[in-house]
Amino acid sequence: MKKIEAVIKPFKLNEVKDALNEVGVQGMTASEVKGFGRQKGHTEIYRGSEYIVDFLPKVKIEIVLPDSQVSSAVDAIIKSARTGKIGDGKVFVSTVEEAVRIRTDERGEKAV
């Protein structure tokens, strides 16, 4: 079992969701987050006071999957979220020890 965390541009969320659906991913969690990488931020000026805004709005998607689905899901994310410009985001994959479906108490891959 693996967890995929993908930080993407907010306006790409729908495309990424559709691409994941197509490769059989049935559920996901998305959060509005702020962050920056090499893209850095921008400058805002209010009545002459300049503010450097480092943190830009991003969306983070989290999905937990059986190992067999991971590589197709990662490919789907990369394909759909890419614009080719700096600030497209990143994908992280990590191992998950346990999953539980609260309603039925099912464990492991059956629960995801």
């Binding site: 000026i45 009545r47 002459g48 006071s49 805004v53």
Partner: protein
């Protein structure tokens, strides 16, 4: 004797005599002054409340709007009890008798021919009340996001009593020191409140910013406006309200009201362009908040001159205003490091000082014939039209207002600080005034 005299006169003569003795209400003038009163009240709320409310952080928006709202209640009641009497009662050169119009005794439907011969005295009282509300509300931008509410209420009560009511008396009341039309010693031209409203609030704001100190985190921590849209709506309402403020100050609905309306509009328009252009040129982009700030600067600057200058002069005043106020807000504040949070001094204090002085140079007896001959020294009329002489008179008015505003505000702040305190605790400032002073949040979703 009286009866025989009356019997000798014709009906026409007797009617003419009565009309001369008793000023008559002109319904056109009264309608315009009542409308203007309502327009001026639109300036503190929602105009200023939105303008200031949008500029603060989201945790302080209600507390900031509350400053304008609560003054509508507080100052109205104080004005009714003794404020109008100190401002417009007959007294000495500095303040009026607090008892003459106590509880508005004798302020009714009959016009007061000294102030406004064609409208009910009560209308004049209401119109002036609205000015007394907006002026202290302007100051509140200087200590936004950190002043304790109890301290605010006490400060404002003392401020209007010690500074506003006397200053209004000096400039606009019969026998006031600076009243050029009604027996003052130093003829200062201030049509709608350059000294009384904008310089007094601007300089007091600066003193407040110094005495209260900076907000925690200023200037290292970003404090951008939480909602510029609110501020822009407020700006639009202020511009419209300002027509009542300036054109209403003609206390009638004749040519002078129209010319003040025109000067007000053209100054605001040109300052809009010059602030925006200055920013575009110096910072690379014309900001919407900058353009809105230019509008307010142009309005505050033309206020004292609005009933005395031509439309082209108003454009010149506005163009200079936008640039000067832009530098006051950006460079002056940064150079001295004070936290006049919403730029009351830079826009209102600096703008109206400029307006007072330019009025001394550009005042025209063609626009306002009264300034050509009304003021007299040793029985000889002296023209107050633009020139070095009137420039110096204007300067005296400005300097006196600055001194009264600065010293008075400093002393009042010390008294209020000792009695109830000026600032909220660090913890409360961190949590925001909406929650800690009023127990509410503006945005609950």
């Amino acid at each position: 004797m009286i009866y025989s005299e009356a019997a000798d006169a014709t009906i026409e003569e007797r009617v003419a005599k009565l009309e001369a003795a008793k000023p008559v209400v002109n319904s056109g003038d009264n309608a315009w002054l009542l409308t203007s009163s309502a327009l001026v009240l639109m300036m503190p709320a929602p105009g200023l409340a939105l303008f200031y409310g949008g500029l603060v952080r989201r945790k302080n928006v209600l507390a900031t709007m509350m400053h304008s709202m609560v003054l509508m209640g507080l100052i109205s009641v104080v004005w009714m009890v003794y404020g109008y009497s100190i401002a417009f009662g007959e007294g000495n050169a500095f303040f009026g008798s607090p008892t003459q119009y106590f509880l508005l005794k004798g302020v009714g439907g009959a016009p007061n021919s000294d102030y406004a011969a064609t409208i009910p005295h009560q209308t004049f009282m209401l119109f002036q009340l609205m000015f007394a509300i907006i002026t202290p509300a302007l100051i509140s931008g200087a200590f936004a996001e950190r002043m304790k509410f109890s301290g605010f209420v006490l400060f404002m009560l003392l401020w209007v009593t010690v500074i506003y009511f006397p200053l209004a008396h000096m400039v606009w009341s019969k026998g006031g020191l600076f009243n050029w039309a009604l027996g003052g010693k130093i003829p200062v031209l201030d049509f709608a409140g350059g000294t009384v409203v904008h310089i007094s609030s601007g300089i007091s704001a600066l003193v407040c910013a110094f005495v209260l100190g900076r907000r925690i985190g200023f200037p290292s921590e970003p404090m951008p406006p939480h909602n510029v849209v609110l501020s822009l709506i407020g700006t639009g309402l202020l511009w419209v309200g300002w027509f009542g403020f300036n054109a209403g100050s003609a206390v009638g609905a004749g040519e002078l009201a129209t010319s003040a309306f025109a000067a007000t509009h053209f100054s605001a328009a040109s300052a809009t362009l010059s602030w925006g252009a200055a920013e575009w040129f110096l910072k690379g982009k014309p900001s919407v908040l900058g353009v809105a700030s230019g509008m307010v600067a142009g309005l505050a600057t033309i206020t004292p001159a609005s009933g005395f200058v031509t439309a082209p002069s108003a454009v010149l005043i506005g163009l200079i205003s936008g640039v000067v106020c832009y530098f006051a807000v950006t460079k002056l504040k940064a150079a001295f490091g004070y936290d006049d949070s919403l730029d009351v001094f830079g826009v209102h204090g600096v703008g109206s000082t400029l307006g007072m002085l330019m009025c001394g140079l550009l005042a025209s007896a063609e626009v306002n014939p009264l300034i050509g001959s009304t003021f007299q020294t040793d029985g000889k009329p002296i023209s107050l039209a633009g020139g070095m002489g009137q420039f110096l008179n204007q300067l005296k008015g400005v300097l006196f207002t600055v001194a009264l505003g600065a010293i008075g505000t400093f002393i009042i702040l010390k008294i209020v600080g000792a009695l109830v305190g000026l600032r909220v605790s660090e913890d409360s400032e961190d949590q925001g005034l909406d929650l800690t002073q009023h127990g509410e949040k503006a945005y609950n979703d």
